[in-house]
């Protein structure tokens, strides 16, 4: 009787078991397919950005024999000398049979207008080269660059492309002579923004982003941690602190553009701070990231086991000592992780910065928090809006740089978490 009963119980369990395992399999399969899908989308994103953007890391340059003609430097100021003429003369020397006025103009268009700045810099750096002739690689025009990269097809009707047949002929000749080559695009990393794609770089936007983030970090980390410590360790539990807590959680959900409008109204209009300045951008992003940091910091303070607090108080540490000696160090990795995630959000933020004028076209690389500047995501937005084909690849390249920053920030967060994670 007893044995029989057991038998049936086991049978029932095993019958149910099959169903339970089936459910588990389905659940696992569901999770797996979700992950595979998202990985596919991420891969697609990276591939498309990479495919569009990698070519921006190369720029076509043209090798010219520049003669630094003494006559041209017969002026008071070296920076006002006619460097454009030097470039034109050497092009003329390469193509002596081009004589017509408009043909000459077409020919000179092959070299970037930025070439003269390169020469200007060289002369100002070393005036000794005046009078000599030098072989110099100079940036080619963006249309030439696009042609060499294959984005402009010679099969298209002449009127439908930006380079005419004659220009293509000259380009072929230059390529044949080894005077036209794709080289690593240093300008992209060393220059600020420009109307000319071949002269545009992300240095200004990167510097602007770094200044903005520095302001954000310096303000939001100490304020956020202090707020979290106060709320978690000192504040009495009453209606007021409940209200504060609810509002902090609400702030975390406020759309970022609202912070931009607030910044415009308060920092620019009331306090009269400069427009387009990383300082103001940093202040606005501080408002935006503070809730994130406070919430993460409170969570990591909460996760410090109460036994550690009791241990410290039990040997006679004051409350402040217990916090600074034991609780804060243990909560710090979590706080830093939260902060880095907040910073990564701030780095990718565009909308609030548009409101305070960081969307302006700014050529100069900023050198301080009050210089006008833009930031990487805004730069991407600006380039994505530009009509020139060469800006398309630069947009993608800038996205790659931004993603690089974001990925390394998150990697640092993971590293910190791994390194300082404690087990009790």
């Amino acid at each position: 009787m007893q044995a029989e009963k057991r038998e049936t119980t086991m049978d029932r369990v095993s019958k149910g078991l099959a169903r339970r395992y089936r459910r588990e399999r389905w659940f696992r399969l569901f999770g797996l397919s979700a992950i595979v899908t998202s990985v596919c989308f991420i891969a697609l994103l990276f591939v498309s950005i990479g495919a569009n953007g990698w070519s921006a890391f190369q720029q076509t340059e043209v090798l010219l024999d520049i003669h630094f003609d003494k006559e041209q430097f017969d002026v008071d100021n070296l920076s006002t000398a006619n460097y454009g003429a030097l470039v034109k003369n050497s092009m003329q020397a390469l193509f002596p049979d081009v004589t017509g006025r408009s043909d000459k103009r077409e020919l000179n268009k092959l070299v970037s207008s930025g070439a003269s700045y390169v020469l200007q810099k060289m002369v100002i750096k070393d005036t000794g080269i005046i009078g000599s002739t030098k072989k110099i690689w100079l940036p080619a025009d963006d249309e030439v660059d696009m042609f060499l990269k294959g984005y402009i097809s010679r099969d298209v009707a002449e009127s439908a492309r930006r380079l005419n047949d004659k220009q293509i002929g000259w380009i072929d000749q230059l390529v044949a002579e080894g005077r036209l080559e794709k080289k690593f695009n240093t300008i992209f990393f060393t220059a600020g923004d420009s109307r000319e794609p071949e002269l545009a770089g992300i240095r200004g936007a990167v510097a602007g982003s770094l200044f903005t983030l520095a302001v954000t970090l310096l303000l939001s980390f100490p304020i956020g941690v202090a707020t979290a410590v106060y709320l978690e360790e000192f504040a009495p539990r009453n209606r007021w602190t409940d209200l504060v807590e609810v509002n902090i959680n609400n702030l975390a959900a406020v759309p970022s553009i609202v912070f931009g409008l607030l910044g415009l109204a308060v920092f620019l209009n009331v306090f009269g701070m400069p427009r387009s300045a990383p300082l103001v951008g940093g202040l606005v992003l501080t408002l935006m990231t503070l809730p994130t940091i406070i919430i993460a910091s409170r969570a990591s303070l909460k996760s410090v086991p109460p036994s550690i607090r009791e241990a410290a108080l039990g040997v006679g540490a004051s409350k402040m000592q217990a916090i600074t000696h034991h609780i804060l160090p243990l909560a710090m990795p979590g706080m830093m992780t939260g902060t880095i995630i907040g910073m990564a959000q701030a780095l990718g933020e565009t909308a609030p910065l548009l409101m305070i004028g960081m969307v302006a076209f700014i050529v100069d690389v900023p050198h301080g928090v009050t210089d006008p500047a833009t930031v990487l995501p805004v730069q991407i937005y600006l380039w994505a809006d530009s009509p020139e084909r060469a800006f398309v690849e630069r947009t993608s390249a800038a996205i790659m740089v931004l993603l690089g920053f974001l990925i390394s920030m998150n990697a640092i967060a993971v590293f910190l978490r791994r390194k300082f994670e404690r087990r009790w």
Binding site: S307, E310, L313, G314, H326, L330, R423
Partner: protein, 297 residues
């Protein structure tokens, strides 16, 4: 108030006249009935280190300790036993004001350490907790090195003026805690890497490193295996020569082994106090008897 006057009787005078003080077994019908909530036995001693009078503790509305009066004698081990939830930990934590950190906890009454009321407004809890150390139920070493665990108290209280002196304090504390021989070669390793019993002895070393007068232990062995428990019990007996120890335990054998006096708590009331031998062989209150004979627990 009638209870107060009875409670304030000191010395070896019998607290409830009807119950004989002789060593002979108290007759069953002479034992205090279960309804009686006044303390039976001898809660007071002549040479008290800590005296508690009329202590009430509330957690918000909840009355957790009800009018408890008891002395802790010099260099004695006082064991507190009782069913769980009866308020042993709560009362223990009153003795070094650890309850201050608990939200909503209110302590009333008079608790003196060497004639000084520790709940007086002028008393600072920081030096108080240096005088009355505490060892917790679950070993809770800091996630720092063994050395730093022990050195922390002396450091914050400025007890050692030089590194050498600090080294000495650490060594002597670890020796007193019976841990020195096991860890002397790895003082720089994390305290959390030790075994449970070693961790608890490390916590004891940490507590005695600030040279307290009284050590409070809240079920110090409840998370330990029998061998580690035996080691800690031996340690308690040794420490008794220098310190006054109040130990909460749910293990009656342990109370019998390590303590001289035992206090039995029941639902917030102090039911009976007496010498450990007497309590375990000859309880005078029915509730105590129920508990130690295993009828209630």
């Amino acid at each position: 108030m009638e209870s107060m006057s009875a409670v304030l009787t000191t010395g070896e005078t019998p607290f409830l006249g009807a119950y004989s003080m002789t060593q002979e077994k108290v007759r069953q019908e002479d034992k205090a009935p279960r309804e009686n909530r006044m303390t039976v036995g001898v809660p007071f001693v002549d040479d008290a280190r800590m005296t508690c009078r009329g202590v009430n503790v509330y957690y918000g509305e909840k009355h957790a300790i009800n009018n408890v009066s008891i002395d802790v004698g010099r260099n004695e081990v006082l064991a507190m036993i009782g069913p769980s939830g009866c308020g042993k930990s709560t009362f223990l934590r009153c003795l070094n004001r650890m309850n201050d950190t608990v939200e909503g906890c209110r302590v009333e009454g008079d608790i003196q350490l060497d004639e000084l009321n520790i709940y007086d407004k002028s008393v600072d809890v920081v030096p108080l907790r240096a005088q009355v150390g505490m060892v917790f139920q679950k070993p809770n070493p800091f996630p720092k090195s063994i050395y730093d665990n022990v050195a922390y108290g002396p450091k914050i209280h400025g007890l050692a003026s030089s590194r050498a002196e600090l080294d000495e304090v650490v060594e002597s504390s670890l020796k007193k805690a019976g841990l020195w021989s096991e860890v002397s070669d790895r003082l720089d390793q994390p305290g959390t890497g030790l075994s449970g019993g070693q961790q608890q002895r490390l916590c004891i070393a940490r507590a005695i490193a600030v040279r307290p007068e009284v050590i409070l232990m809240d079920e110090p062995c409840s998370a330990l295996d029998p061998i580690a428990t035996a080691t800690v019990e031996d340690l308690i007996s040794e420490l008794q020569e220098q310190y006054t120890i109040v130990i909460v335990t749910h293990n009656m054998q342990q109370a019998a082994r390590v303590s001289q006096r035992t206090a039995y708590f029941h639902l917030g009331d102090l039911i009976e106090v007496g010498s450990t031998d007497r309590i375990f062989t000859n309880p005078r209150h029915r509730l105590t008897e129920d508990y130690i004979t295993g009828r209630f627990g």
